[in-house]
């Protein structure tokens, strides 16, 4: 097991009370696998990994256990974390336009990683960095290497981000909505790139997204999140063919389909995402669910194993 997360709970302390962003979440990642994490904005999917990376906002606290290769990494000091971040695991972010430093050349932003973690000289670090730019498909890498971020397109910047995150050959790459800010045609290229690199470098990848289409093409296993909790876990094929949680079903139904011309308008899940400051006692999805029962409002369903490699948190026996 590469990463083992147990009972992770992340809270933010704000002026109007505590926000329960991640609630008692447990999952694991095997070496080399690709895990997809889906959910709406505010479902806690990003904050799980911010907690793991030690990048929570100042008012955030995380509790629980996060074991990386068996070693507890939650609660490590910044200095200790810095021996792991960018080395053992890296993260790329949603908005490549603002995630690169606009005042520094790509060259500096890449070589500094190797200088800091590998103790390389500037010359070697440059050579290694340019090789990675080639690997992620940046044309004229030698010339591009000397440029500033604003001289790149969005897709190219995300490629640079990916190259930068791979400099120390991490075992785990966390991609937080890597294609959300990009053009549709570029999205597919970036997803394909991440998939290829994962395979070629035998690197585990986490793909955080609200776009089920992205997950379908890339992941082995999928976690569905709602209200800061995991509500369903399944292999990607099973999730698409036989979703077991009403929320997952709703997500699948709200995907636009080219082959279905019968519906005049797109399907949406009614209602609003839950208020993370006042989660209900029962199931967080109950107010929006089409199958709500008496018990759903009173008792929160626990995540239960329903088949090999499948879990769900729902009182309903069979959704279909």
């Amino acid at each position: 097991m590469l990463l083992d997360v147990q009972n992770l709970t992340t809270r933010f302390h704000t002026h109007d009370g505590e926000v329960f962003a991640v609630n008692d979440v447990s999952f694991h990642i095997e070496p080399g696998e690709c895990l997809g994490i889906v959910g709406e904005s505010g479902s806690g999917k990003t904050q799980i990994f911010m907690s793991i990376m030690g990048l929570l906002a100042k008012n955030g606290t995380a509790e629980g256990d996060v074991l990386f290769e068996g070693k507890q990494i939650l609660g490590l000091s910044t200095a200790q974390l810095n021996t792991l971040r960018g080395v053992e695991f890296s993260m790329i972010f949603q908005d490549p336009m603002t995630s690169l430093n606009p005042y520094l050349r790509i060259a500096k932003q890449m070589t500094e990683v190797l200088v800091a973690h590998r103790g390389m000289g500037e010359k070697d670090a440059e050579k290694a960095s340019i090789e990675l730019l080639d690997l992620v498909g940046i044309p004229e890498s030698k010339k591009r290497f000397r440029m500033y971020p604003h001289e790149f397109s969005g897709g190219m910047r995300q490629r640079v981000m990916i190259a930068m995150s791979l400099l120390c050959q991490p075992k785990l790459l966390i991609a937080d909505e890597p294609t959300t800010a990009l053009d549709v045609t570029v999205q597919a290229q970036i997803i394909e790139l991440i998939a290829r690199l994962g395979r070629e470098l035998n690197m585990a990848t986490v793909l955080i997204t609200h776009d089920l289409g992205v997950i379908a093409g890339l992941s082995d296993r999928v976690l569905v999140m709602y209200g800061g909790r995991i509500v369903e876990e399944a292999a990607v094929r099973e999730l698409f063919h036989d979703p077991q949680h009403p929320y997952t079903r709703g997500l699948l139904d709200s995907m636009p389909r080219l082959d279905d011309s019968s519906r005049a308008s797109l399907y949406t899940i009614p209602g609003q995402p839950p208020n993370l400051q006042a989660l209900p006692d029962g199931c967080s999805f109950a107010p929006r669910c089409t199958h709500t029962m008496e018990i759903c409002r009173k008792q929160r369903p626990l995540l239960q194993k329903i088949a090999a490699g499948r879990t769900k948190a729902c009182h309903l026996e069979n959704v279909s």
Partner: protein, 307 residues
Amino acid sequence: MLAYTLRRIGSAIPTLLFIITIAFFMMRLAPGGPFDRERQLPPEIEANILRAYNLDKPVYEQYFDYLINIMHGDFGPSYKYLDFTVTDLITTGFPVSLRLGMSAILLAIFVGVFAGTIAALKQNSVFDYMVMGTAMTGIAIPNFVMAPLLALIFGVYLSWLPVAGWGGGAIAYQVMPIITLALPQIAYVARLTRGSMVETMNSNFIRTARAKGLNERIVVIRHALKGGLLPVISYLGPATAEIITGSVVIEAIFDIPGIGRYFVNGALNRDYPVVMGVVIFFALLIITLNLVVDLIYGFLDPRVKVE
């Protein structure tokens, strides 16, 4: 960039002409003249003096004469400091003022940036509140209050520093004037730095730098400061203007032989050429420094094309 610089210099000419015109006529509108004394001069002597300085001509003629003269680099004689031309006064006074002003600006940048950065990194800490509180006080107290206050405390009561004078430029004489000049600027720079560093430290690229496992010192110094200091760089133009106007008051209070003192004495004595000369000189200085600041800005932020 050369074309840009030339264009900026070209656009400065109408500005300068406007300043000269306003200053010229405002001086003439002020009651009294350069040779009015409590004791009335005999009319024929007064007429002689006025004729000697061309003050007997109509004002608009004097104005055009003045414009023609300054285009030849002739800023005229001082009416008060006899045997001295305005150019003489500026060239003797400027090195002194420059020394004061530069020291004040450098002090303001170093102390202000340092205090502001620490305040930003330790946001909402006691240090932060202390720096921001002191900064507010620094901005609120005008220099003509601060100068006598410092002179009273450190000069009169404690006798640590000379109350006034220049002492040939000895350090002890410079301390209080420089600090008085720098204080409000330190305060502004500290507030600017804090605000912009707080914003920068919350930006996505700082999150990236941390995700790369860089240590916090590199994150701050290499990744945050360059962007965080841009507002300070832009403020350097106005800061110079404030230091210059401030030095007029400070030099008068501490009796320092810089241009500021000549300017004040010139204004009091209706020494028209001195006042005009200093106004033009200051205007040129501010225009030039603003241009320099813009060029530096373009150099620091690769996204800004100076053209």
